[in-house]
Symmetry: C2
Subunit: 404 residues, 2 copies
């Protein structure tokens, strides 16, 4: 009997967790494991805001996939175009592969909700490439300001669209980085403006209001100006247009606009004909796509409802890794012809939102934390992801220890 082929698409938190658990659980003869990823490295999505602000080098936020997989896994570096579910094939940019079992762990895409100009003129914190582009772009704005005879101060304005997790964490880094940049480029800090523009009426929706207040007043003290309840109507080469009241609009001129207000699932989901909401599939309890016994969904493309509040769980590294563990177990059962698949339940270990190098807010094991304690917790959360996927040696190589 031919051994089954398990194909995992994407080496993000979910995909890599699935693969690293599978390579431990399964014997060489039980299954062939194939991992497909665009890059030959994994990157820490949850650290990209640091690379984007320039507070952490982008090589610190990635590691080679080869360093965490073993000889049981065949790695293919390629981009996924489509899944042909009817003949169990994945179409890649440079070829195709057949699967017996498939795990879709493809990453998210930026969602601009049709707002004009955002795609062209705003950056998004999506991957290592876009992160270093944001960093380099901001630096060039500062460098250009220093050289130009007629100074354009708007160059020094940075607009962050979105007061969610990514937006706030990015602003936390920026608030630390901008004074450094000012020193580096001989620019008066007073000339720089940092805006957080959010359509919703609140910062960090879902977070404890007391912690949100703490975050907002901390960032304000560091120079961030909040424009809450202010929808972005469009982006231009000169900045953004925002709504002002019911009918009016206002222009905010800015040399840098970063859109951090929306992600959706991967468009491969729709291209492959799955039923989905913005690229996310409402998965069965065992993490399979409805109607597809051979396909699991992990991470950003998986939609699971939090029954307590009747809203989807936000796509986080934490939930993706927990899903990956369950999927690896369920695949092991399927390969061994066991039928009692496990059910996924999210165990919320807490959430910490970083406010820069030495501050954060969060709820950990049900307790509210702020300041250095929260910042320490955040770094431990970051290190835990490394530990779960690559073990202690990866923590030693890539971990965050510059605390307390």
């Amino acid at each position: 009997m031919k051994k089954p082929t398990i194909v995992v698409l994407g080496a993000g938190y979910g995909g890599l967790m699935t693969v690293t658990r599978l390579q431990k659980a399964l014997g060489q003869n039980e299954a062939e494991i194939v991992l497909v990823n665009k890059n030959d490295y994994h990157y820490e999505t949850t650290w990209l805001h640091e690379a984007s602000a320039g507070t952490l080098h982008h090589d610190r936020v990635r590691y080679p996939i080869k360093s965490v997989i073993n000889s049981k896994v065949k790695f293919i570096q390629d981009s996924v175009l489509e899944v042909k579910t009817e003949n169990k094939k994945v179409i890649l940019e440079n070829g195709e592969i057949s699967y017996d079992y498939l795990v879709i762990g493809l990453g998210p895409e930026s969602e601009t909700f049709g707002i004009q100009g955002l795609k062209e003129y705003a950056f998004s914190i999506s991957n290592v490439n876009t992160a270093r582009k944001i960093r380099d772009h901001i630096q060039l704005q500062f460098a250009t300001y220093s050289t130009e005879v007629e100074k354009n101060e708007d160059r020094l304005t940075i607009v962050v669209g979105g007061a969610g997790f990514t937006g706030i964490e990015f602003l936390g880094e920026l608030a630390n980085r901008v004074p450094e940049l000012c020193k580096e480029y001989d620019i008066d800090f007073q000339k720089v403006r940092m805006y957080c523009v959010e359509a919703a009426p609140a910062v960090l929706p879902g977070f404890d209001p007391e912690l949100v207040d703490y975050a907002v007043s901390y960032l304000e003290k560091k120079g961030v100006e909040f424009k809450i309840g202010t929808p972005i109507k469009g982006a231009t080469p000169e900045g953004i247009i925002v709504a002002k009241g019911e009918d009016e609009v206002e222009e905010i001129k800015a040399g840098t606009v970063v859109w951090a207000a929306g992600v959706r699932g991967n468009s491969v989901i729709e291209a492959s004909g799955f039923e989905a909401m913005r690229g996310r599939i409402k998965v069965d309890l065992d993490m399979r796509a409805p109607g597809h016994d051979d396909i699991f969904i992990v991470g950003d493309c998986a939609l699971i409802i939090n029954e307590e509040i009747n809203r989807p769980y936000p796509p986080t590294a934490q939930i993706a890794m927990q899903q990956g563990e369950v999927i690896a177990k369920n695949l092991t059962k399927l390969v061994r012809n066991e039928s009692d698949l496990e059910t996924f339940t999210f165990e919320n270990k807490g959430t910490v939102c970083s406010l820069g190098e030495d501050n954060a807010i969060g709820v950990v094991f049900g307790k509210k934390v702020t300041g250095k304690t929260a910042s320490f917790m955040k770094k431990m959360v970051d290190n835990r992801a490394l530990l779960m996927i690559g073990g202690a040696s990866l923590v030693a190589k890539k971990g965050k220890f510059n605390v307390l």
Copy 2:
């Protein structure tokens, strides 16, 4: 009797050498010394190619003026607009000052010879601000290439206009930096092109031909393509237009164009009504401007003919510092009412052209040198400038020792 005021304009090699010698030679009661400079720091013009390529941080190429002047010198941070010789005044952007003796040590300006588009679309290695802009611009080109879906390889092309000293030294740094950038931005080195475009029929005119051959073949091996005898006709947002044969032109598309083929004296010279050739005054033997007993010219704005070849000495740090020493001596004599002013004679200690971190070519004390020896010599030349102006402590702080 009121003590005379000596005003020195510019804190480059010549101006700072004059001031630091004067503060040693003159007593507190003999003269008031005023130094005017745009920035509160001095920068090593001869190291700017490194900061521009990104091989040396721009803070390594500058030091605070306060660190080398003492309490005898009054420092004014301002820009010079004009010298009113008839009433012995200097007009600054934010005020004016009177002088009894004046030393003009203002820096050079880029000379584009009327070539269309160069001012708008080409960078020049002129100061700390332009250096970091070039560095950041190149990085953003590499970052953008990594993010774009339809790859524009021309982005990765860097054109250097000019095969003189600055052009070649910059290419030497680039040739080392580009492979690092490729690694940093995940780009195949084969996709990057580096051009040296020069209108004259030779590289490094005036240099020993054997050394020139060494330099060209070394840089070619590192990926630089030379287009010699090729005048640049214009620059555009997409690159440059060069002459091809008698009547035709050719486009070289490039994401970065650096113009390193021409400098002129400072335009304040013409604005002040001095007789000059491209902003440079043919000085008297004692370094004074003809017809102006109270005005000395040092550095880039001073024109002195090398009688051996009947051509002007190129404006270098070496000649500027030697001039500064003589000017300080002559000012001391004038303040003390002595009339036997010294005559300036250039003592050529040799010239070394860097080809990057660990290679160079040069003639030192009449001997040709290449490779590590020449590179070591170059670093010693660089350190000597620090020593002459700021003493051993400045060498310890800012010197170059990463050799052999």
